[in-house]
Point group: C2
Chain length 79, copies 2
Amino acid sequence: MKARVTIMLKDGVLDPQGEAIRHALGGLGHRGVAGVRQGKLIELDLDATDPEAARAEVARMCEGLLANTVIEKYAIEIA
Amino acid sequence: MKARVTIMLKDGVLDPQGEAIRHALGGLGHRGVAGVRQGKLIELDLDATDPEAARAEVARMCEGLLANTVIEKYAIEIA
């Protein structure tokens, strides 16, 4: 079973990495980019076979290691 | 118009960051994680209004700046 975790900075948290990308895109001639936010994508290959159990396990992984929930939000997709 | 770009290492390219996460998850007691791959997620806020034009523009951004297409693959979602 595969799980895909997307981790983004929460709205309102300054994202200097995204801002640097936006600036670089402007320098390369890409006009019309109003904002850029950069996050992380983590794909997990799990032995679990029950989707609900897998989701709960991945949520524990996010809370304990993958995301800094003070400043980051995460979303889990199970496939 | 929003665009979401996911950038992952191509299959077969060693992912030491993902491997480090897998190892750390094991150390925290999360058994049953067979593999981890880490990638990047970039959310773009575009002025463009035509989805096809936006997709082509974002593809150029990926080829020119966002992804290293020698070792990375990217996927674009327009919303």
